[in-house]
């Protein structure tokens, strides 16, 4: 039973990670489009300083690139196995095959 729950939660990992990344990407794109400039001048949003004088536009861009790799790695390590394992139907396994 515990294994079934673990496998079911792993099946959700892919969609959850996908939604997390979509939200981050959407926030970045909308931030660039609607909060960074007014009358052509930088007013905030991605223009704000983030790390040691480097603005949020650069830092967020780097994080989106690095984040994509981290999420893909998490999925490959923990989530994807659920799709590769056959569903356990409760019947005893035949080890002779």
């Amino acid at each position: 039973m515990k294994n079934i729950h673990a496998r079911q939660s792993r099946r959700w990992l892919g969609p959850v990670l996908f939604v997390v990344y979509c939200v981050a990407y959407l926030a970045f794109v909308l931030g660039a489009a609607f909060t960074t400039f007014r009358d052509g001048k930088p007013v905030g949003g991605l223009a704000r300083a983030a790390v040691g004088g480097v603005n949020l536009a650069v830092v967020a861009g780097m994080l989106l690139i690095v984040g994509a790799f981290i999420l893909a790695l998490l999925y490959a390590m923990f989530g994807a196995r659920a799709h590769d394992e056959p569903e356990y139907d409760g019947a005893p396994k035949d080890d002779s095959q």
Partner: protein, 588 residues
């Protein structure tokens, strides 16, 4: 600018291309069957396939176009890097494994897996051909741009050389040789770029001895009688940057002032490099036209580094800084196309058929994301390094990266040009492979029902590859002057609009019908192409209208169609599927 060829560059280039072609002939014997020719027998290891993904995906647009865009306009090129990489998330979580499970050789196989319909095969194959040709144009343009400084040959010669080399690669061993060419290219591209970035960081920033004044406009006038540079005929000692070099010791693209008034920084770390750039003033060059002579002018404009590290500095993304909603929609539409386009590109999707199973497909995607992500982070440093290298050619943004390499010596210039050339070979061979599969496997065998044996299918694929190579050469010559990144943006729009709705709904909506798939691909393809061809950008950059005329004549509100045409594809698929569901389930 006049480019002088270097014997070292020619030697490195010849050795590289010779090795690649020899590899193709050697591997040719392994690709006699259709499974070998179109899918490398599905036996490519996941790590090799992952790096080959990078080799397939990191095209001339990524290497030449993004670096050039950052070097000319700052952050905007990096927006492409972010969008291109983000697209792999869609491939990883949504498309990769189902496509691997459903297909055999081509994207059309996967789309048709539930229906066995000639109509689905036909529209999917046509979409593959159109998208591949759209994507081929910037690659071939990039090839021409590279050969100019490398071999001192004109643009058309470079395009022809790439076209010929790629046709040989694909026609000899199909996906087997294509995979290895892409693996070698992907490895070398990332390694060489990392090396150049290390040199950039080690060099830091330096302010020229004499500051460039705002009135030092440079001009170039091309006429049937010859090229005039700054009022005198073009010559080796009178090039566009000759006067600047004589008076300031630097060419186009330099630092006007560093923080705290220092004149040089010495070596910098990756974060300190960006911090210093943000606090510096950079001399950029504004392009214009002289009202009297009609000459193209370049006027120096000092801009804050912090401003150059924000989006909206280039013509492509200027809508970000515009308060009008329609301008912002253009930007949002392009970012949507980049996000959704990757997982819809036929030449990327067919790489999932070269590994043995879904697990290998997934692992290879992770490796691909790692290699591609590292490269895209490097592009920011390459672009900013080129922007401050004093080596830009203001008439050609595609040359920024190779010219940056030349500032570190002719040896590196030769190597990076040869690698860049191989970059084009790797991507173009993938595109032609996708097109050849669509013609031989989808159209001839499954649509026109020609009874082809395994060997005849391979022969048909090879003939199709030759035909596509010839078309690619012609298109590469026609579109010489366009920024390659801009063109790739269009290909992503068309791919996302035509393929993504059909792929996603096929995988996740059980009521999808073959008529829905056919309608969705057809509407997505036609609507995105029509939108692009009628846009102000196309009127200006392809048909040669002035900017004002283009805006007045265009009948679409903005240039990037994905934000309209992708949802349209979903709506059409749902409506047509609902309308035809009963017919498909009716008895008889």
């Amino acid at each position: 600018m006049i480019y002088e060829s270097s014997m070292l560059a020619i030697a490195v280039f010849a050795a590289f291309v010779g090795a690649v072609l020899a590899l193709s002939f050697w591997l040719g014997s392994r690709a006699q069957s259709a499974g070998g020719y179109f899918a490398a027998h599905g036996r490519v290891g996941w790590f090799v396939n992952g790096i080959a993904f990078a080799g397939d995906y990191l095209s001339a647009a990524s290497f030449l176009g993004i670096c050039g865009m950052i070097a000319f306009f700052g952050y905007d090129g990096f927006l492409y890097s972010i969008g291109y990489l983000a697209g792999w998330i869609v491939a990883m979580f949504v498309i990769a494994e189902p496509v691997k499970r459903l297909g055999k050789y081509t994207l059309a196989d996967a789309l048709n897996s539930r229906f066995q319909s000639r109509g689905v095969k036909l529209v999917a194959a046509v979409a593959t051909l159109v998208i591949s040709l759209f994507y081929l144009v910037p690659q071939m343009v990039g090839a021409g741009a590279l050969v100019k400084p490398l071999l001192g040959l004109p643009h058309w010669a470079g395009v022809t050389m790439v076209g010929t080399a790629v046709t040989i690669i694909v026609a000899t061993a199909g996906m087997v040789s294509t995979t290895w060419v892409q693996f070698i290219k992907g490895t070398m591209l990332v390694a060489i770029c990392a090396f150049v970035v290390a040199l950039i960081l080690d060099r830091g920033f330096t302010v020229p001895a004499r500051a460039i004044r705002a009135d030092e406009t440079q001009s170039i006038l091309k006429s049937p009688t010859g090229t005039i540079v700054n009022g005198a005929p073009l010559a080796p000692d009178n090039q566009l940057d000759s006067r600047l070099r004589a008076e300031h010791g630097t060419g186009f693209g330099s630092v006007a002032a560093l923080p705290a008034g220092v004149t040089t920084t010495g070596p910098l770390g990756p974060i300190a490099y960006l911090e210093t750039f943000a606090q510096s003033s950079i001399t950029t060059w504004r392009k214009g036209t002289d009202a009297e002579s009609g000459a193209t002018t370049f006027t120096p404009v000092d801009r804050a580094g912090s401003e150059l590290l924000l989006p909206g500095g280039s013509p492509t993304f200027k809508g970000v800084r515009d308060d009008r909603l329609v301008s912002k929609l253009d930007f949002l539409s392009l970012m949507l196309a980049l996000f959704l386009g990757t997982a819809s590109l036929p030449h990327i999707l067919i790489r999932y058929y070269t590994v043995k199973d879904a697990a290998a497909a997934r692992k290879s995607t992770v490796v691909g994301i790692a290699a591609i992500g590292i490269f895209y982070i490097l592009t920011l440093y390459l672009g900013l390094g080129a922007m401050t290298s004093g080596a830009l050619d203001p008439t050609d943004s595609n040359m920024a990266a190779p010219l940056l390499a030349r500032t570190f010596g002719n040896g590196l210039f030769a190597v990076i040009s040869a690698v860049a050339f191989t970059t084009v070979l790797g991507t173009v061979s993938g595109l032609i492979m996708a097109g050849a599969g669509a013609v031989a496997h989808d159209l001839l065998k499954d649509v026109f029902l020609l009874k082809l044996s395994d060997r005849e299918q391979v022969r048909a694929g090879k003939i199709a590859a030759v035909g596509l190579g010839v078309i690619a050469i012609g298109l590469g010559v026609m579109f010489e002057k366009m920024n390659v990144t801009f063109l790739v943006g269009w290909a992503f729009n068309v791919a996302a609009s035509a393929n993504l709705p059909a792929l996603v709904m096929l995988l996740f909506w059980a009521r999808t019908t073959k008529q829905g798939i056919i309608a969705s691909i057809s509407v997505g393809l036609v609507s995105s192409l029509t939108w692009i061809l009628l846009s102000a950008d196309t009127l200006e950059k392809v048909y040669g209208y002035s900017a004002t005329e283009s805006l007045a004549s265009s009948i679409v509100p903005f240039s990037q169609p994905a934000i309209v045409t992708v949802p349209l594809g979903f709506v059409v698929l749902v409506v047509v599927s609902l309308l035809t569901a009963q017919r498909n389930t009716a008895p008889g």
